[in-house]
């Protein structure tokens, strides 16, 4: 006779189903609560099995300006988990959602409460919280996290309208990407890990020039005007979220080339919060110390302007953080491998995994500098975090998880 002890009992939500199996032998399944009821009048044992979808979805928040085709970051992230992320098959072709075997990425623009016309009428930008339905965002992220599928609206960036919803089923990894993943406190509580992509003004300007200069309607002035006009709302509503992020990827102009304003060579800082559960910051050589490292020299020849790393503890909005910084770019495979071999706590499963992941997306922007490198490393850290969470859940299935 199998005896199991019930520890703390999670409240039975609507995701649970009740059945009366006729089999007398019951195997123990971590997702099932099994009740034996011994009736005194007969010798037959009645058993009731309650199966709950344990909701082992891990939720990641990614805050970034400009749309949800943060394709570069997202594709790096999903490829770490294996498999390519595709839009939902056969659905609305203007859907912003990406789905792979393990990961689903949704765009928070889908929670706009005002469509383009509505925003124009009310005089609010998409950056303004008044244009977004945080109640719905919270409800749906909560539902997905607890294993319940939702019908999520679609915001169509081409027409500017809110389209009929699409079905989102709870995946292993659920990424919410957009302008406000950490704005609402209730949604923040649901995030297992959060990232903020912080692009400095100079780099933003350089990137938008690269993005828009080929467009007929645009000029240097219009690109500049667009950034300036959005800045007040951005500073008021989006930027403050970075204090809540577990990891911030800060992108700045290089310090290796004086007066460089092309934004091609970048200085990238990976700011990692200390004390985050399941997250061990990446470090160089000696954890907690301060390091300055130029890998180019006798063993490694680099082309101009070279590569410079630094690592050390800092404070960020009152939190203890560790910062790993890379300035410069690599243009050879062996530079990348060399650097990878000197980084610690990168959560790779085999030697060269970072390099392999970088090569996979070699023609994406950032593939030769810190943006691609740190995005890839963050992806590996998230995989590690996910595996730890799953391992801890199966070890103690009835314990309440972090709320």
């Amino acid at each position: 006779m199998a005896v199991s002890t019930v520890h703390t009992v999670q409240s039975l939500s609507s995701t649970c189903s009740i059945s009366n199996p006729t089999k007398s032998h019951l195997g123990f399944n971590q997702k099932q609560l099994v009740f034996f009821k011994k009736t005194t009048t007969t010798t037959r044992r009645a058993t009731t099995v309650i199966t709950c979808s344990a909701g082992d979805t891990v939720v990641i928040g990614l805050a970034a300006d400009s749309g949800c085709g943060k394709s570069t970051f997202m594709r790096r992230l999903t490829s770490v988990f294996g498999g390519a992320a595709e839009p939902p098959k056969g659905g609305n072709p203007d859907s912003n959602t990406l789905i792979s075997d393990t990961t689903t990425v949704i765009c928070l623009d889908d929670y706009h409460s005002l469509d383009r016309t509505g925003r124009k009428e009310k005089g609010v930008t998409a950056l303004d919280p008044r244009a977004n339905n945080f109640d719905l965002m919270y409800e749906q992220v909560k539902a997905i996290k607890s294993g319940v599928a939702v019908e999520k609206p679609i915001y169509n960036h081409v027409t500017g309208l809110i389209d009929p919803p699409e079905l989102i089923k709870p995946p292993k990894i659920f990424v919410i990407e957009g302008l406000h993943p950490m704005y609402d406190a209730r949604v923040r509580e649901l995030l297992d890990f959060s990232i903020y992509l912080d692009i400095s003004n100079e780099v933003k300007f350089a990137w938008k020039i690269q993005r828009d200069m080929a467009e007929r309607g645009h000029s240097l002035e219009s690109i500049k005007a667009s950034i300036e006009a959005r800045k007040p709302d951005f500073d008021a509503y989006i930027d403050p979220q970075k204090q809540y992020a577990d990891a911030v990827i800060e992108v700045l102009p290089t310090e290796l080339i004086p007066d460089d304003n092309e934004g091609k060579v970048l200085r990238v800082r990976l700011i990692m919060k200390e004390g985050v559960k399941y997250f061990n910051p990446v470090y160089l050589f000696d954890e907690g110390s301060t390091i300055s490292w130029i890998p180019c020299g006798r063993k490694l020849t680099c082309s101009y302007p070279g590569i410079k790393f630094s690592y050390g503890p800092e404070t960020y909005f009152g939190h203890e953080v560790s910062v790993l910084e890379m300035d410069g770019q690599f243009d050879r495979l062996d530079e990348l491998i060399y650097i990878e071999s000197h980084l610690s706590s990168i959560s790779t499963k085999f030697y060269g995994e970072v390099t392999q992941q970088m090569l996979k997306h070699a023609d994406f922007p950032g593939s030769n500098n810190g943006t691609g490198l740190f995005q890839t490393i963050v992806g590996l850290k998230i995989r590690d975090l996910y595996e730890q969470i799953v391992a801890s859940k199966s070890g103690a299935p009835l314990e309440a998880t972090k709320t």
């Binding site: 394709s71 056969g90 925003r119 005089g123």
Partner: protein, 133 residues
């Protein structure tokens, strides 16, 4: 758009940079063999993935909208630079510019036509007519 790429061959790039960049050359060969990067046409330009009429229509529409909305924004902001209307006008420009860039990224870097799976299910719609250059 004939491609000189054959999966089994180790030397698909006729136009590829010569031995002076031997290191990149050999790395790329490995990457092609491992299906890590996609083929190009004979002159080295990436094969454009635009397949359906609907995608071409979207691209055209977005281009026109960018032009139009920039003009609008300049107009509105000319009247009052600090107004909400001015902010919103430039925000619209940003939204459309990003949407266009996302479409370009999909076509040029990912070699996917966004209508691919929709058109598999609905091949008879106007949007799913094959796009002729």
């Amino acid at each position: 758009m004939a491609s000189s790429f054959t999966p089994m061959s180790l030397n698909p790039y006729s136009s590829f940079r010569s031995a002076s960049n031997g290191e990149i050359n050999s790395t790329k060969k490995i990457m092609i063999k491992m299906n890590m990067i996609t083929p190009s046409s004979k002159d080295g330009t990436p094969l454009k993935a635009m397949k359906f009429k609907g995608t071409q229509m979207r691209e055209k529409k977005l281009t026109e909208m960018i032009e139009q909305k920039v003009v609008e924004a300049n107009q509105v902001c000319g009247e009052d630079e600090t107004s909400d209307e001015c902010k919103v006008a430039w925000d619209e420009v940003e939204e459309i510019s990003q949407a266009k860039a996302d479409l370009r990224l999909k076509l040029e870097k990912l070699h996917q036509d966004p209508l691919e799976s929709f058109c598999q299910e609905n091949p008879e719609t106007d949007e799913c007519r094959i796009y002729e250059d």
